[in-house]
Amino acid sequence: MFNLKGVALGICIALLGTAASAQSIECGSDTLCKVKAAGVLKIGTKDDYKPWSYRAADGSFKGMEVDIGNKIAEALGVKAEFVKVNSANRFEFLAQGQIDLMIASASDTAERRKIVAFVHPNYYSSGYTALLPKAVSATQWSQIAGQTLCAVQGAWYNKPAQEEFGVKVLAFAGTAETEAAMAQGRCVGLLEDDNQINVRLSDPKWADYQMPLPIQADTPWGMAVRQADQFAPFGYFVTGVLAEMHRSGALLDMEKANGIKNSAFLIKMHDALKDHIN
């Protein structure tokens, strides 16, 4: 009995140990070294934000952010492994080491810079506005004060929209729920990123809807790394890949390939960073 238990315990520890033996003491705290040694870059992303990050039926991740992640891993010469995160745990996962890089449509705000480090240049940008039915004739935010808009829980603009414009926000776990709720008349419109609304409006399903209100608080998105990695080889590496993607127009191509109209921010960044000779 004792022998059997001991053997079983030993096997368990050995199996678990071999799984992570690559992260041995030689690399210290150098994330770049650890990632190359492990042969895998763990990237945190959402899986419910089509077309930036979503799932295919076979369980694989797809979308613009996934494409960017694959590109970075390719440049590093390792495999990209995507880990699903949500707004409740994305920063904790990064801090704990469960992911090394976060590409999860996170807005680069001062509050968040206290917890994680954002890599610059920023890889995307968006402001928030409301998707409203064409039947609604409002053109200013003040006209919809007191009305209810459906939104996704955890979005950074839910609080400002309520505080500044007096709209009531009904928040759900995902965009499918917000759409279903709007269809039932529980809210007059959706409070979302302007790029996301643009993607919707290019679909004939949303022909009866519009985006009439001025876009608010255009805030760049940032890829997050641990604070210790910001001015370390790993942070600099990601910075370099990002700058090159802006310069070569790869980000604009990825945007197009995922069915998103080229956004002003990416066009601006490409113009600023592009080659002065070619």
């Binding site: 992570a20 419910d48 979503y54 295919a56 076979d58 745990n89 904790e92 995902g174």
Partner: protein, 226 residues
């Protein structure tokens, strides 16, 4: 309508895979929780104040705390990887969530144990004492064997409760059936699949849990003492 059915079926392997994780978490948590709960339950009825009081406090605390809050603590306070004898052991989210579930399971099982021991007629204790058994021997050789039979139905109920609680882990990011259903609904960007997909999810849980429930009813009837 048939288009909807094929769409839903296409995503079923993805969701069922997640359901497998729910089942795994529930099996591990019930084993761990039962083991811990046995100690806690016996601790509650202990004559020693040093053992009895902490056991009672722990039981009450973990019974009354929301499962979700316990999950959060385990996910955020337990590290992602720990060093044991120079080797790094990885603790993925689902494992930490499982540990989080085993605490309320242990507390509930502790109450089941305590209730079962109390329900044994005091005549048994007195008879054992008359025959010269000490308290510990009485407990382990006479009382507990009688309790096991009457602990099984509430224990199976507890398992069913645990399994239907595992979807809570979606909030802390575990990729189980509910989270996968949500992701599948998102990917199809078609709110008309919302109902069929959730119906399928409901079905999965029902067809796994209901037989367990029936079994526990059968066992309860068999072991009922009138």
């Amino acid at each position: 309508m048939p288009h909807l059915v094929t769409q839903v079926l296409e995503w079923m392997p993805f969701v069922l895979n997640g359901f497998g994780l729910n089942i795994l978490m529930s099996l591990l948590a019930i084993v761990a929780g039962t083991a811990m709960g046995t100690f806690l339950g016996l601790g509650q009825i202990s004559r020693l104040r040093l053992v009895g009081v902490p056991s009672r406090i722990a039981t009450q605390l973990f019974r009354n705390a929301p499962w979700l809050v316990l999950l959060f603590y385990c996910i955020f306070l337990m590290p992602y990887q720990i060093r044991v004898a120079g080797q790094v052991i990885v603790l993925p989210s689902w494992l930490r969530a499982t540990i989080g579930f085993s605490f309320p399971v242990a507390a509930n099982f502790s109450e089941i144990v305590r209730g079962a021991v109390i329900s044994v007629p005091s005549g048994q204790w007195e008879a054992a004492q008359a025959l010269g058994y000490g308290r510990k021997a009485t407990l382990f050789r006479i009382i507990l064997p009688q309790c096991i039979a009457r602990m099984i139905p509430p224990w199976m109920n507890l398992y069913a409760l645990l399994l239907t609680a595992t979807p809570l882990s979606v909030i802390v990011g575990v990729e189980e059936a509910l989270g996968r259903t949500q992701a599948a609904v998102q990917a199809q960007s078609d709110s008309s699949v919302l109902i069929p997909m959730y119906l399928a999810l409901l079905g999965m849980f029902f067809f796994y849990t209901w037989p367990i429930n029936r079994l526990s009813l059968v066992l309860e009837r068999r072991f009922r003492t009138k």
